[in-house]
């Protein structure tokens, strides 16, 4: 299912509550680009048609969760909040068309210095697949990844598309501190730690870019629906970009 969305109609969507102040729209039961495309199309429509009582929404692999204020949506008790919000979203679904001529998405490049002190587990990952570190880097950088959803930590992207040849189990003993910017592999997933945290991912490199900065208008570098590529850089380039990022912060 690696094709772009070609369908113009929305699929059958399941509705269910997440507590008394959120509703979940389920667009499918598989992680694939088609389901992702539906969710993207719907959130784009929602952004253009905000309604009173809509608090925020969280897209995930197969679901879109919409937080609402039952007091506002329920008109202070006049109408049933869940039924009202469900009916409104159902109505919206009829109007959403996924655009088959969607313009090509911009690919965001994430510079990464692989190996050495920034990628302490690169050798291990290479050895466990009978590859050379260089080949791991090549496999990791040749793919265009899709940001399916954000979660786990501020600015953390769940990426799809990693080459199965470099899939590696997590470390048996997690590290107490993984620095921000660390690029790692955990099973079939690859990702970047946006903030320093404990973690068990196999670290293969580090990006000097800030994936999360509370001081920017857009605090997260990435959002669901983005396409990204990792680009290998030297340590010198790493330092230079890092300086620039630091300057942007102050």
């Amino acid at each position: 299912m690696d094709d772009l969305v070609k369908t113009s109609e929305m699929p059958e969507v399941n509705f269910y509550p997440l507590g008394d102040a959120a509703i979940v729209l389920e667009f499918g039961d598989h992680i694939d680009r088609l389901t992702h495309g539906y969710i993207q199309a719907f959130t784009a429509y929602l952004d253009q048609h905000l309604f009173p009582g809509l608090v925020e929404y969280v897209p995930a692999f197969t679901t879109l969760t919409i937080y609402y204020d039952p007091w506002v949506v329920g008109q202070q008790g006049l109408v049933n909040p869940y039924a009202t919000v469900a009916a409104r979203l159902q109505e919206m679904l009829l109007h959403v068309k996924t655009n088959p001529e969607k313009p090509a998405v911009k690919v965001i490049e994430i510079p990464v210095h692989y190996g050495g002190k920034y990628g302490a587990d690169l050798e291990y990952v290479a050895n466990s697949h009978g590859l050379k570190p260089k080949e791991v880097i090549k496999l990791h950088t040749q793919t265009t990844y899709l940001v399916y959803m954000m979660g786990f930590a501020p600015g953390f992207p769940y990426l799809g598309g990693m080459a199965p040849e470099i899939a590696t189990p997590r470390k048996e003993k997690p590290r107490a501190r993984v620095p921000a910017g660390s690029v790692g592999i955990a099973g079939k997933q690859t990702g970047v730690y946006p903030i320093q945290s404990p973690g068990g991912w196999q670290l293969i490199g580090r990006t000097p870019l800030l994936l999360f900065s509370p001081h920017r208008d857009k605090p997260s570098l990435l959002e669901a629906g983005d396409s990204i590529r990792f680009v290998p850089i030297s340590e010198k380039q790493f330092d230079k970009i890092k300086e620039k990022e630091a300057a942007r912060e102050s």
Partner: protein, 335 residues
């Protein structure tokens, strides 16, 4: 105008109503654990109900008021005193410069709120004053308050100033004074140590074994000491799925009860992650969030199922109550 923290307490943070609109970027909401008590604390000093206030956990801080302030204390009864004398909660209190607020052995609940009229002079980060501990964002320097911290305040709101004048009329200026009234004492159910929490079934309820479904709704669960602002880890009869399943990550929220594979549920709280991949067996209703957030560690909870319709009815009823309290306070301001 300022407050000086002379002892930090167990965990004392600045919180406002929460950081909304960024969950889609993985940025959590934070905010108060007991939003009801937090909102009332602000209303009692003439603040907007979402203004930044202090949340303190179980063992409270020591706070020195360097200038005159109008304050209120709500939430769990952590036995607060001013200059060594017991102070009543859920009402406006005038504290003159030099007063010392302390907390003692908790009597009920596990967190209290301290609101100061006019709130604090702090930078907003991503539209909010809430402290996001893990990302070191918001609140006071992105961290819990520590001894020596000086919290600047802009001074009371006009409504707070009215309340303060009424309280201190015909009183010596050097004495602290508490209001003789509270807007509605019947609204504050903070004495139940081992509460029954009302829930609606979670999206994955039906995937649990019949025995686990029954245990969830009938047995007791202990809130373990391995709990924090992210969630309460509960211990009881292990809750197991009919068959192990890999779940696709999706949103989770305050009150979501998720169950990791070993079977011990986690009730998510104010600092919950935005998404999770564990099956969600239940969801505590919003009207019972205060009860949930006030359960002291080591105590027990039970769950009782109600319908979504009833949960939303209780949600609206609680909002109605808060509006009544707001009215009652503004009546006192106008007097």
């Amino acid at each position: 105008m300022s407050l000086k923290i002379t002892s930090s307490g167990l965990l004392t943070t600045i919180q406002d109503a929460g950081r909304f609109g960024y969950q889609k970027e993985g940025i959590i909401v934070s905010g108060p654990m007991d939003a009801f008590a937090f909102r009332i604390a602000n209303l009692l000093v003439g603040n907007e109900e979402s203004a930044a206030a202090i949340e303190t956990t179980f063992l409270g801080p020591k706070i020195n008021f360097e200038t005159d302030h109008l304050i209120s204390l709500t939430g769990g009864d952590l036995s607060p005193t001013i200059n060594g004398e017991k102070v009543k909660m859920w009402r406006p209190v005038f504290v003159p410069a030099g007063s010392l607020l302390e907390f003692n052995t908790p009597a009920s609940g596990s967190r209290a709120y301290l609101a100061v009229s006019g709130s604090f002079t702090l930078p907003k980060v991503l539209g909010s004053y809430a402290t996001y501990l893990r990302a070191e964002v918001g609140g006071f320097k992105g961290r819990a308050l520590q001894a020596g911290d000086l919290l600047p305040c802009p001074g009371p709101t006009p409504a707070g100033e009215h309340l303060q004048q009424r309280l201190t009329k015909n009183k010596p200026i050097s004495e602290w004074v508490q209001a003789s009234w509270t807007p509605a004492p019947r609204l504050f159910p903070y004495l139940d140590f081992n509460p029954t929490l009302r829930i609606i079934k979670g999206p994955e309820f039906a995937q649990f074994t019949p025995a686990s479904q029954q245990a969830f709704l009938e047995e007791e669960f202990i809130v373990t000491t391995d709990s924090d602002r992210m969630g309460y880890r509960l211990q009881g009869i292990p809750l197991l799925l009919q068959e192990p399943r890999e779940l696709i990550s999706s949103a989770v929220t305050f009150g979501t009860i998720q169950v990791p594979p070993e079977g011990h549920p986690i009730a998510l709280l104010a600092d919950h992650q935005t998404t999770g991949g564990y099956p969600r067996i239940g969801q505590v209703i919003t009207a019972d969030f205060s009860k949930l957030a006030q359960v002291p560690l080591g105590k027990k909870v039970r769950f009782r199922e109600i319908s979504l319709e009833d949960a939303q009815y209780l949600y609206l009823k609680q909002e109605q109550h808060i509006r009544e309290i707001k009215q009652a306070v503004s009546y006192k301001v106008r007097l």
